[in-house]
Subunit: 160 residues, 2 copies
DNA sequence: TTTATAACCTAGTGGTTAACTAGGTATTGG
DNA sequence: CCAATACCTAGTTAACCACTAGGTTATAAA
C-alpha cells in the first residue's frame, strides 16, 4: 500500500466530485480551481480513475466528469489503488526462496498489517465521509485533537 | 500521512527487534542480513528511530539496539512517523485564507480521513502483531484472501 | 593497552517518481 | 462552424528513495 500526496489529490478530487453528485458533470477546470491542482495533472489522475471506471467523462461543451458509480460504492482504497498502484512488499512473496522462519515471520506480519490497512481504507466510502455532514465548524480552522465520533463503521468487511 | 517502502523497512526492522526482545542487543548487521536491507541505510533509519526514543543503541563489541520502550507501547504510527515525516496535507491548514466553504469542506473531510488512518495505525502495537503468534503457516506462501481474525482491537483509542 | 566491534555521523550518487508544463487531437453542444 | 471540454503524449524539474563511501567515536574483549 502506498499513501502519498498523489493519492490525496485523487481522494480530494473524488470527494469534490461526490459532493456535487447529481448536479450535472463537473469540469476538471473547476476542480483545478477549487482544489489548487494543475489541470493537466488532474487529467492524468483522472485518466487512471477512468481506467478503473471510478469516473465517467463527458466530452464537449457542458461536459465534465461524473462518478462512475454511486458514492457509497467507492472506497478510499479504490481511489488510492487507481492512481498509486499497489507496490509488492514482500521480497520472497511466496515464490522465492525464504530460508529461515524468522524472516518469513516478519514478512507475514507486515503482510498482515498491510492487508489490514487496505481493508480499513476499503471500508471507508465517499458516501460515508460525506454523510457525516458538517464535521467541524464552518470556518477553516482545522483542529486536530478533537475527539471524533464513529467516522468509520467498525465492521471492516468490505474488501475491494 | 505517508506510507511508503521506507516506513515498511522501519516497521520490519522494529518487528525484528521486538521478536528478539529480551535476548540482548540486536546488531544492525544482523537485521541487514535477515531483512536484506543495506547496513548504512538501516543506520540512517535507526538514527530517526533513536531520535524519537523508539530504540536505544549500545556501542562497542556485543552492542546493538534495544527497543526504546516495551513493544506494547510502540505503535506502527510511531514508527512510520519517525522515519517518514508527517506531511501537511491541507494547504489552507487553518492559517491561510480559504474563501469558499466548499474547499474547506473537502479539506476537512480529507483531514478527518487522514486522522482516522493515523489513529488506526496508532492503535496497532508491535506487541499486538507479535502476540497474534503463528499467523499463517510455517511456509513462506503468503495467501492474500484468507479471512482473518481480529488482528486489531476495535477500540482505536490509543492515539499517539 | 591495544584491538576489534559496534554504534554513530556526513556527504555524495544513481534511479525513480511526483507534480507540473506544453502542446497536441477528438468529441460535441450551441 | 466554433468554442468548450475531455482525452492524449512527451517532455522537465525537483524531490526523494535506497544505497555507497568513508569517516569518528565508544567500549568489551584480547
Amino acid at each position: 500500500m502506498r499513501l502519498s500526496t498523489k493519492g490525496r489529490y485523487a481522494v480530494t478530487a473524488m470527494l469534490d466530485l461526490a459532493l456535487q453528485d447529481g448536479d450535472g458533470p463537473v469540469t476538471l477546470a473547476e476542480i483545478s480551481e477549487t482544489q489548487g491542482i494543475s489541470l493537466s495533472y488532474l487529467e492524468q489522475l483522472f485518466a487512471c480513475l477512468r481506467g478503473k471506471k471510478l469516473v465517467r467523462g463527458v466530452r464537449g461543451p457542458g461536459g465534465g466528469y461524473y462518478l462512475g458509480r454511486p458514492s457509497k460504492e467507492i472506497s478510499i482504497a479504490d481511489i488510492i489503488c487507481a492512481v498509486d498502484e499497489w507496490v509488492e512488499f514482500t521480497r520472497c512473496g511466496g515464490k522465492k526462496d525464504c530460508k529461515d522462519g524468522k524472516r518469513c515471520l516478519t514478512h507475514n506480519l507486515w503482510d498482515d498489517l498491510s492487508n489490514e490497512i487496505f481493508n480499513f481504507l476499503g471500508s471507508i466510502t465517499l458516501a460515508q465521509l460525506i454523510d457525516r455532514g458538517g464535521l467541524k465548524e464552518e470556518g477553516c480552522i482545522a483542529e486536530d485533537q478533537t475527539p471524533k465520533g464513529d467516522l468509520i463503521s467498525s465492521s471492516r468487511t468490505q474488501a475491494a
